[in-house]
Symmetry: D2
């Protein structure tokens, strides 16, 4: 049985974005100062006429939960017709993981989960379209569900959604889950979905990126983690990285090196979303430090 | 003749640091909001019990110059016994460059100067301890002074200081100037001094880092740009980077690769200080995005 | 006036490729051993059923020139129906550079040329489709030709080819020359042409890659140097690299960072071809250490 | 129970080094050609007056085992007073892993072991100086030995050597095993020992590198994998890499990022030694592609 993260950071993080205007930071900061709260970290960027910010403060008993904060903060947000999203990091977030036949992305997340790399989360369930990954789930003492994907899409997605709706995760991670999700699934999942794609997008969309990279003779291979949208491999990018291809490397060598990059990029992207450091604007993300 | 930078960004940048406390951001932000000024970019980190922040706003005619800002801002800063430093980016900054026999770091800065890579600066003078770099200065239409360094240190440093005091640069860049500066020189120069050291500090302090790197068999070589303090190669680090050593590389190959890293690191470090993005705290720097 | 490279490495480098078979290395090595020559460096990779190799030996007076070597080596090559290409590095290679309005790639090559970064080369001429880069050529004491490209393609390419055929360079480098070369030009140039493209190919083919990268929200921007073929940005890739995009970066910031990557990648690619370390096979390159 | 690697690459790899001379490659290549063997990959570098080479050929039934090859090859090696070491990659190599309290380096190796990242190896045993890592060993179905290291060094090293001598591993990996090994242990272990050190050596030798890196204010943190010699953290370096420190990073953040670099560097170094791609010369390594 996995020991759930013992690291309960008693901080809150607020993401706040709106059309840029004079005085937003003053209003935001006054809201916290008037309540005796110390903003321990703050970043703001303006881009495309918009204001994007993230701030952290040490939690005290001022608000019982996120809903209580939302209620008190609502009028502030309304003034700027802002989008905001608060996260109390001492409250456990739950993630669900989808996997297919390749274990490396799943294993990376589970090991970092055990090592308290992520802030205060619980992996609620693992859903595979093959039975073979059950052994990984078992080893970590986690629920595994096998939903084959050979049949009709609506049929198997209904079964998947049943599981998702039972656990209500805060995020779903697609740990090299190789099937395309329907728009309907994405709409009804009820939480953001993060994918790891095994290429440096927008290069090599689709199923065989390493072969395509070999054929094109690129000198760096990459991986991309992005939010999932209805269009294949087109969602807002959270994180990317690359590794160098040496002379004499075969497609198989590139696959092997590439797995390392995928693992690293997927884990970093999951960390960014779980630390509440990603804002989506149009088809881009603003990622905070 | 070099065309001075035509890029006059009409923004101001404020660096502000103090012991951390509740309400600092609110006070800072209110100061600007009350004057109708829009903070277009803001970053704050707390570390070691201190508060480190940088904010930008578009300049208007509110303050005639930095001194006018300082006067109006002083009471705000006093409240927190803060260190602050404002920079109006539309006011030209001047830099002086020291060089020895190797041109590559000097050339990098001059080319990026011409290409408006740096915000609104002027290279005021180049000072070499060998005559050979005069041709580079001439080519760019810049004053060159040859101060040999064979004699007594106080004697030649007095000549160097005469030149520095005549031009009063905002920064001095040591573009592979291979002599140690005395504590007295550093005190009297009247501006920060930025060095490029040809190793990944703290590895390989001193004069022969590539030979040392070869002998130690490292797999990456690096370069480090840092503020100069009285102790050799021990000042606060601004920027570092590395490059990979391939099989069969000789010391000479490492020198060649290393120059590229030195150029890149030195230019990025100069950019950070010129964009007013570096705070020194104890022997470390906080570098903003 | 530029001082031509004083570094005349007295080595020869042979590129040799053919269908793989038993005994090729033995035959190659015997050829040199029988003539008392020491192979000081050797690399061989097999890929796609082919044998790709590069070997170096210290030059002596065994062969007067490359043609003499070719004659003596021909039967060896015939045995394997091999492609081979020898380069005596003590014989100066000549390069021509094409440029448009942006100087950074040109400047990088000229500075590294001065610094003897490249082995024993001469920059024979610079050809610009705008007058503005003449000042860079003048500064380095190099011939500059202005061939405007507003008119009909065949007309201005004829003028360009006249210059190329006069100087007969071993390589042409397109230092951010922003026009597409016709297939006819490529055929008639008589030497390989190396381009620097300002994106991580195959992403963002075409003229506005930084805007496209910004719009797509990529987290790394890149540059690609490749041999030029008739199809735009599709030639065999020689070298690529990337740099990280930080939060708040504008298109203009990406352009500025990107130039550094372009310079670095272009210089490294030119070095690889000039050191005779690139074999083209199908649409890929084998690049030796 | 772990499934041992099913990937039995039917190739042999020979490392061969000696004082450089004319005709070595010819002699080497003839040896293989005369026996009808195809050298599928070959790299040779000369450095410091020495000749360093690695060659691969597809195995057939020419030699029953490595000893048979050694016998036939001996006179060839003697001619050049060469060091040579052959490895038949279809013969399983065994590794032993030492660990202390931190699991991340161990876990990385075990997962890559399961994923057939390494060529045809068996993890024979895990030896911990704390009981806490037994759960990791159990999960992978591997023998775990707990040898506490609180007492006298000779006493506990004798127990460790008993285990090592029972399993006779080809390599020992120190997966963040935090104790110094005595010269006596190193001599008697009977196989090379590979360590992962959590800094960019030669910076930050010793036990608290992340704290030292924080205090020194470096902008990149690194990890180094090296062969173990009697002098602490001074052995020949196999692989190194770095990661960038962002503004606001605490020591704890650096530890977290650093673990990723350690994992990656350790796994790559183990791969290089297991693929028979490392030659030690003086205190350096030659690492082949």
């Amino acid at each position: 049985m996995v020991s759930p993260s013992s690291d309960n950071p008693a901080i809150a993080a607020l993401l706040f974005s709106c059309i840029d205007a004079v005085g937003i930071i003053a209003d935001l900061a006054n809201f916290f100062a008037e309540r005796g709260l110390n903003i321990s970290r703050y970043e703001e960027y303006t881009d495309d006429g918009h204001f994007f910010s993230r701030l952290e403060w040490p939690l005290n008993d001022r608000w019982e939960d996120e809903a209580a904060f939302d209620k008190e903060f609502a009028s502030m947000a309304q003034r700027y017709q802002a989008n905001f999203d608060v996260r109390f990091m001492n409250q456990q977030q739950s993630i669900g993981l989808f996997v297919s036949r390749q274990p490396h992305a799943l294993i990376e997340i589970l090991n970092k989960y055990e090592a308290n790399y992520f802030p205060n989360i619980e992996v609620s369930f693992i859903l595979g379209n093959h039975e073979s990954m059950r052994r990984i789930a078992d080893r970590h003492g986690l629920p595994f569900f096998h939903v084959p994907t050979d049949g009709e899409v609506p049929a198997y997605e209904r079964k998947q959604l049943d599981i998702v709706h039972r656990y209500k995760p805060d995020f779903i991670g697609l740990a090299r889950y190789m099937k395309v999700l329907s728009e309907d699934f994405i709409d009804r999942a009820g939480c953001p979905i993060v994918n790891i794609h095994h290429s440096f997008l927008p290069s090599f969309v689709g199923a065989k990126p390493y072969q395509m990279a070999y054929d094109r003779g690129v000198k760096l291979i990459g991986a991309t983690s992005h939010f999932v949208t209805a269009e294949l491999d087109q969602g807002p990018i959270i994180e990317q990285d690359v590794a160098r291809v040496v002379a004499g490397a075969s497609v198989q060598d590139m696959v092997k090196m590439g797995r390392d990059v995928e693992q690293k990029v997927f884990a970093r992207a999951m960390l960014k979303v779980l630390e509440h450091k990603a804002i989506v604007h149009k088809n881009r993300t603003i990622i905070f430090n």
